[in-house]
Every structure is written in C-alpha cells, then in structure tokens.
Symmetry: C2
Subunit: 204 residues, 2 copies
C-alpha cells in the first residue's frame, strides 16, 4: 500500500514538474506551482526529490530522449539512404508534433550546465559518430552529394526543430497569430522537409 502510494505520488510529481518546467524553465518555475499541479504540498516535493535542482534534472533527463531519440537501429539498417532519412524525418517531426514545447525547453536550458548536458547525452546512447559515418559511406558510394556530414546533420535537425523552437515568432511573422494555420503548416512540414533535403542531396 505504501509502495503503491509512493509510485503514484512520484509519478504525479514528475508529470506536474514536467508540465511546469517545460513551460517556464528552471528559473521561472515555482515549487508551489508544481505542488499545486500535482495536488500535493511543497514539502512532499522535497521529500521525494530533496531539491528543486534535482527534480529539474530528473525532468530534463526524462524529456531529453524525445529530442534526441535513439535511432541506432535505423542508422545501422541496410535500407537505402533515401528511406533512412525519410523515415527519420517523419518520425522525428511526429515526435515534435506530439511534444511541441520540447525544442524550446531544451534550447532554453541547454546553456545552464554544459557538464550536466554532456552527461545526459552520453547516458541517452546518442551516437553521432555512427550517423556521420553513415553519411560518409553514402558519399563515397556516390549516392548523395559530397559535403561535410556535420553540415548535413545540422541541416536536417534545423529543418525539423527550428519551426517548433521559434513558433511564437514565426507564428506572428507568417501566420498573423493564427495557431491552427501554424499547426497545419507544421504537419505539412514532414513532406516539405523530406522533399527539400532529399532533392538537394540525392544523386540519381
């Protein structure tokens, strides 16, 4: 019974903290607000996570894997590069559509503690080397144009992430603050990005 309660409460706290932290960041969030969201009181937060910082780090870790998902399987598969990239872009934008505030959150908090950031990245099993090597092999094989593979990677990520990260600005600039229109735009992005990227690198 106690354990069940514990699990329930911990989960409630994590969910509440995620909501609040993602919206307001570490500095902008109040323990009281998180407690309210979770339907408990402040003291319990400290009972479970000791400090605000530790609670925040738990959330950051929990959330980070969505922004840099594990794509080992896809990278190591023997699908043609066209499909690998296309699938990645599709799945990735799908994740962002479901979690549209993650990019802004991660970008916002990224600068706070580079050491912590590095540790999170390692623990998440992101292996950029594999991806870079994959691109290099394709370039050697002549299936895609030659370029710095890091540029290609940054380009793909930027295409996917930027429109979510800069949402408020772009929404005002290009959509007169019409949120529905902007969401439609984001949905269509899957196809747009695929086309744009593949058209410019595939050698046929």
């Amino acid at each position: 019974m106690n354990e069940l309660k514990k699990d329930n409460t911990e989960e409630k706290i994590l969910n509440a903290a995620q909501t609040v932290f993602i919206k307001k960041g570490l500095d902008g969030s109040r323990m009281q607000e998180i407690a309210d969201h979770a339907g408990i009181n402040k003291a319990l937060l400290h009972y479970y996570f000791r400090t605000k910082q530790k609670l925040f780090e738990a959330i950051f870790k929990k959330v980070f894997k969505h922004v840099f998902p594990k794509i080992e399987m896809l990278v190591l598969s023997d699908l043609p590069i066209e499909e690998k990239l296309g699938t990645f872009i599709e799945k990735y934008i799908d994740v962002l559509l479901k979690n549209p505030y993650l990019p802004a959150f991660i970008l916002k908090e990224m600068n706070r503690d580079p050491v912590f950031l590095a540790s999170v990245m390692k623990s998440q099993g992101v292996h950029p080397e594999h991806i870079l090597k994959m691109f290099e092999k394709e370039m050697e094989a002549g299936t895609i144009s030659k370029m710095d593979p890091r540029d290609l990677m940054v380009n793909v990520l930027g295409f996917c992430i930027f429109p979510f990260a800069a949402k408020p600005l772009l929404n005002i600039m290009f959509f007169e603050n019409d949120k529905k229109a902007y969401n439609n735009f984001l949905k269509k992005r899957k196809e747009t990005v695929k086309k744009f990227i593949l058209n410019s690198i595939l050698i046929r």
Copy 2:
C-alpha cells in the same frame, strides 16, 4: 556635466544588462550582478529604469533588430534572386558570428510575453509580406521551384539560426567540445548554406 554623466551611466547600465540578460535570461539574472558589471550599485539601476522588467524590455528591443535585421532594401532591389538570397545569408550569418548568443537569447525569451513580442516586431519594421511576395513572384517567373514561400523562409532562417541556437549541444555531439573547431564550422556555414539552399531551389 550632469547630462554627460547620465549618458555615460545609462550606457554602462545598458551594456552590463545586455551582457547579463543575454547570458542568463530575465529570470536568471540578478540586478546586483548587472550593477556589478556596470560598476555601480543596485539603487542606480532602479533610478534609471525603475524596474527589472523595464530594463529587460529595453535590452530585448535593443537586441532584437540584430536577429531580424531590416532587409527592405535588399528585398525591394532588382537584383537576381540568387544574389538577394546569397547576400542575405552572408550578411545574416556575419551578424550571428558577431553576436553568437543572440539566437539562444531571443528563443529563450520569446515565449514569455507574446503581446510584447508582437509589439517589438512591429516597431522593428520587419515586413515578412514583402519577402513572401518576392518569393512568390520568383516562383511565378520560374526562376525558383514552386513551394510554400513560408517553408522557404523558415528553411533559410533555420539554416542560419539553428547552429547558433543549439551550439552547446551540437558542439558536444559533433565536435567533442572543441570550441575552435565549432567556430570554424560556423564560419564555413555561409558558403554551405548558400550552396545548399540555392542548389535546391534555383531553376537553371
């Protein structure tokens, strides 16, 4: 004498505030820290700007124009689209190279107050419509491939801004935290972005 002093102090405050706010954001910054940077005391900050919020807004406005520079002249010129876009990308990345922390700062603070953001944008004389129309005309004329001009705009901005905004992350992922290597990468981006964008949209 008094006026000279005033100007001097106000400038010192603005410079100090810019340094601190850009690094730590509104919530993360302390009036004390800004005062220290400016070589004055807290009380004087309030004498000049009354509240932290007002000081912050002054900085945000001051800084915003760098991130969305006035490009009317370029847009309205009769240069070929290839040169317009090429020049924009070059100049823009140059600005970001000189102010590498701006993208993260703007993205970080963008969500706080959408109304204020909108007012800043209007006051800065950014006219997205002109840019979109320019693209549309080029598409009709058959000089660039047909697509949603807003996608094209987001793509260009994302290519330029994202590598600066996500610097800490990308630096760890692809450059083993070697800052010099990353800065070289950013410098080369001017050419890379131009090539990538122009190659994929120009019809020859």
